[in-house]
């Protein structure tokens, strides 16, 4: 009956728990990947406090705020998508994941406008920084800004791809009320992307 169960698992339930544990281990490595950048941000913010707050004030806070709202809402639609597949409403999951991908597109477009603004004002990383802040504080801020938001944006793109594949497969009926763990794991990845942005937003835009 359970064709989804691999031969070395006794039941779908046990396989699901193993899959969740594996996903959490992967997510832990993702957390540590971003932590390296956050640690660098902390150190350089300590060394160049004034330059960092000056550079941070030059960012469009409303764009970061709107993007936070967009990602939080997309996390909500992904959670509702899982709720739908558990109730056997596969088509609804496909639509909700599609909506989440659209919200991801909104995030990326806003991010693109922000990057365009920085390129036009020579707010670039490392030796290419041509902004108003004296010393190396400004270039350090924008090096870390592009590294953190760039790596995060890459994760948004990967997350949109994952949601697209899993959403389409759910629509086609590959998963269902009983076999819903892949849908749950795709959601976990997207929530982690949201979780990281929740910390990026105050660190880069607000303080």
């Amino acid at each position: 009956m359970h064709s989804a169960v691999a031969h070395h698992f006794e039941s779908l339930e046990k396989q699901g728990q193993a899959q969740r544990l594996g996903m959490w281990l992967f997510l832990a490595t993702e957390v540590l990947l971003f932590t390296a950048l956050f640690a660098a941000y902390g150190v350089y913010r300590y060394l160049y406090t004034d330059a960092f707050s000056q550079a941070s004030r030059s960012l469009e806070t409303w764009m970061g705020g709107v993007n936070t709202f967009v990602l939080v809402t997309s996390s909500f639609t992904v959670a509702m998508g899982l709720d739908a597949v558990v109730k056997g409403k596969n088509r609804r999951t496909g639509l909700l994941f599609g909506l989440s991908i659209l919200l991801g597109c909104v995030f990326m477009v806003l991010k693109g406008f922000e990057y365009r603004h920085h390129f036009l004002h020579a707010e670039l990383p490392g030796p290419f920084y041509g902004g108003p802040i004296a010393g190396s504080g400004g270039s350090m801020f924008f090096s870390l800004y592009f590294l953190i938001t760039g790596l995060h944006a890459f994760h948004v793109l990967v997350g949109m791809t994952v949601l697209g594949v899993i959403g389409a497969r759910t629509w086609l009926g590959r998963y269902g009320a009983e076999h819903h763990v892949p849908v749950e794991l795709a959601g976990l990845y997207w929530h982690l992307v949201d979780l990281i942005w929740i910390f990026v937003f105050p660190l880069i835009y607000l303080i």
Partner: protein, 130 residues
Amino acid sequence: MSDHTAAPATTAHTHAGRYLVVWAALTALTALTWGLSTIHIPGFGGVAVALAIATVKGTLVALFFMHLWDQPGPNRLVLITSLVFVALLVTLPLLDNATRFPLANPPDAETAPQRIRDAILNDAPPPAHP
């Protein structure tokens, strides 16, 4: 037959109502931290408030959107372990830089002696001797 008792437990952790409440709380907290950033809290206070709100938001996402609330222990332990390393990775380099001999940090950093810093920022040769 015991599988039938386990089945409702897996479906019980998907509550549309719960997701809606968490989404509303996350939206409200985003508005709050945004609003608080417009009134400049001096010194370390602003950073502490912003990070505290972010931690509350992150906890809500991890517990309810990511279902850690209903997960068995091992899955929770993975994230908790990674958070221990987050704390170590962030605090130890900070403490290192904060307690260094000043000249071991970059010469134009705010921890450097003021006259050396001024000289670098004004692109002038450093004063010969005080």
